[in-house]
């Protein structure tokens, strides 16, 4: 018995071993085939990865210009190494400090106004959802998103034809005898932050609402139905059903805009800038352009751009951490 079992056991073992070996062989073959396939797949995307590397990663090397007094004519080898001189310069001279302070103030003010008005698309979507006439809804949606699809140059052109001193608005106001001298909407340093925010709203309101409208259409109608059964009025369903359902989307967008605090972009401010409003319209991105491309202070511009990028990434991770804590999921 004992012998028999041991014999059967060894036979079984042998058989098992053999099949196991066979399986292992097969697995190895499969793995190799898969490995070949997975590398071949990777090779397919390499050209695109090269593009990403060239345009996004390779330029990071250029941060080194911030440590030199870079003169394009001399190249990096011929330029003088100055260490942290540009960073010191940023905070050493009072005039430079004042200018940077003003630029930062503009950047933050315009960003915060943008964040403060970010509830408008939300409200727009909620109230548009209460409009029950389909053609009117569609017309509103189409026509209010139109400004999003034109360039800032064209926005400026529109601003110019409506608000310049010989523009429509001043003409109409003068016709009604409300003003005697044209109001300088564009060529003045007053209220620039507010007018810039208003133009952003004009351009982005309808577009910003689309994502909320999409989210609203995803809300289970039963929720509204049951709320109405319980006797909720129109405003109550808007406040207790629609709004809470949109909050996750709103919070994600809000956090992202916090991460973008320093990135206003430059196109809008570039087209609207002139000798009169330069003081309060220069945001960081525009300032970097102005001193780098036209002022020819390449190294200084690099240094500022570098600080800006670093702060932005830190902000992003902070915000991401908050999102993880609060919502249990990260946004990046």
């Amino acid at each position: 018995m004992v012998i028999a079992t041991s014999v059967t056991a060894t036979v079984a073992d042998q058989i098992e071993e053999r099949t196991e070996g066979g399986r292992r062989d097969k697995r190895r073959h499969e793995k190799q085939a898969q490995g070949r396939r997975s590398y071949r797949m990777f090779l397919c995307i390499v050209p695109f990865l090269v593009l990403v590397f060239l345009f996004s990663y390779f330029p990071l090397y250029g941060w080194i210009y911030a440590l030199f007094d870079y003169k394009p004519a001399l190249g990096l080898g011929g330029s003088e190494f100055v260490g942290l001189q540009w960073f010191e310069l940023l905070v050493s001279s009072p005039t430079q400090l004042a200018q940077i302070g003003q630029v930062l103030l503009n950047t933050l003010a315009i960003s915060f106004l943008g964040i403060a008005t970010s509830v408008l698309p939300l409200a727009f979507a909620i109230f548009l959802n209460e409009v029950k006439t389909p053609w009117f809804r569609n017309a509103v949606q189409t026509l209010t998103t139109l400004p999003n699809f034109i360039s800032w140059v064209l926005v400026y052109m529109i601003a110019f034809s409506l608000f310049s001193s010989s523009g429509l608005v001043n003409n109409v106001l003068a016709d009604f005898g409300l003003i005697t001298a044209p109001i300088k909407f564009l060529d003045s340093d007053q209220n620039v932050w507010i007018t810039m925010t208003l133009w952003s709203i004009w351009k982005g309101l309808g577009w910003g609402a689309i994502i909320y409208l999409a989210a609203i259409s995803g809300i289970d109608p039963a929720l509204h139905e049951s709320a109405r059964m319980d006797g909720a009025g129109r405003f109550q369903t808007m406040w207790y059903i629609t709004l809470p359902q949109l909050m996750p989307t709103y919070l994600v967008l809000l956090l992202l805009s916090v991460a973008n605090l320093l990135n206003n972009g430059m196109e809008q401010y570039f087209v609207f800038q002139n000798a009169f409003n330069k003081e309060s319209i220069q945001v960081l991105d525009l300032y970097v352009y102005n001193i780098g491309m036209t002022g020819n202070s390449l190294s200084m511009a690099t240094a500022i751009g570098m600080l800006k990028s670093i702060i932005s990434v830190v902000l992003l991770f902070t915000v991401n951490g908050i999102a993880k804590r609060v919502r249990g999921e990260s946004i990046v």
């Binding site: 026509l143 064209l154 052109m157």
Partner: protein, 324 residues
């Protein structure tokens, strides 16, 4: 549902009574509801007017008599209708070239971006690809940092992309945001599509082009319209990388027309010769009329194309953004 309708019920069992038609709930409206509706509709009408009137204003001014429009008297409808402005604007020096460049970058750039986004979006769903997660992140994180204007400019310059048409296309090809949109979409498609094609012996590129690409049209339309609008409207890249006039875009030309009275006058003088002669006559072009007409030329393609595509990208946004 279908199974029930095909099999006849046995004769002896009485048919279930038809469900009573769902009562059309007459929602009773309180005076408060009417007030709300009136306010709501009024506010939205106002918003529409604020958004749409500026475009209308440009159009009616560009087709009105130039002396009237220069005074700002054209407000609700055209006065002294003419199309002369358009004829003359098309003869402006550089406008033809700029239009060709704008159209070319929009078409080539959009096709390149759409193909790259579709391919990468698809490839990043392939769990077998070597180090997929890593390369996906490698691409996606570029959304969140930038080396800054000057270093990028110097790299472009060293790559020979300044004063080069391809600067309009290459840097825009790989767009993380579009890749996320496509990837989310592909993940919602059944995996059996790919398995079936693999059994037939198709390789990954064939699977992409023959099986997936034709089935991705909604999301590709979304990416296409985004990218086309971005290409058509882009202005910053011309400003930074281009000094060669033959590569100017319409947007850049418009910017120059708005900002530089001298270049405007020069453009008018260079155009065809007869334009300068009729300056001062009743139909002559004023800086205002040139600006407005060029603006209309720049915005018209978008106004025509945009409503056609609107339903696509609303859907696309819903697919990509809300879920992801």
């Amino acid at each position: 549902m279908t199974a029930i309708s095909t099999s006849r019920p046995p004769l002896h069992t009485p048919r279930p009574p038809k469900p009573a038609p769902r009562p059309v709930r007459k929602t009773e409206r309180s005076p408060g509801d009417y007030a709300f509706a009136i306010v709501n509709y009024t506010v939205f009408t106002l918003l529409v007017v604020i958004c749409a009137y500026p475009f209308y204003f440009l159009v009616i001014n560009s087709v009105s008599a130039n002396d009237v429009s220069a005074l700002g008297d054209v407000r609700l409808w055209p006065i002294g209708f003419q199309l002369e402005n358009y004829r003359q604007v098309f003869e402006l020096n550089g406008l033809g070239t700029a239009a060709v460049v704008s159209v070319a970058r929009t078409v080539i750039g959009t096709v390149a971006t759409v193909l790259a986004s579709a391919f990468l979006g698809f490839m990043f769903t392939q769990s077998r690809m070597w180090a997929r997660q890593f390369w996906y992140r490698f691409v996606i994180v570029t959304m969140y940092f930038s080396a800054g204007l000057i270093p990028v400019f110097i790299v472009m310059k060293n790559l020979g992309l300044t004063n080069n048409f391809w600067v309009y296309v290459l840097p825009f090809m790989v767009q993380p945001f579009y890749i996320i949109l496509v990837k989310t979409y592909v993940e919602s498609m059944p995996e059996s599509l790919q398995e079936a094609a693999e059994l037939d012996g198709a390789n990954i590129v064939q699977i992409f082009f023959r099986v997936y690409l034709p089935n991705m049209t909604p999301i590709l339309a979304t990416v296409a319209i985004f990218s086309a609008v971005a290409q058509w409207n882009s202005f910053q890249d011309t400003l930074i990388y281009i000094t060669d006039q033959s590569l100017y875009t319409l947007q850049y030309l418009l910017y120059m027309f708005i900002n530089q009275a001298s270049s405007l006058a020069q453009a008018a003088q260079n155009a065809g010769g007869d334009l300068g002669a009729i300056v001062g006559a009743a139909t002559s072009q004023t800086p205002t009329s040139i600006r407005m007409t060029v603006s209309v030329v720049v915005v018209l393609p978008i106004i025509f194309i945009y409503p056609l595509f609107q339903r696509f990208f609303v859907k696309g946004i819903m697919l990509g953004a809300v879920k992801g």
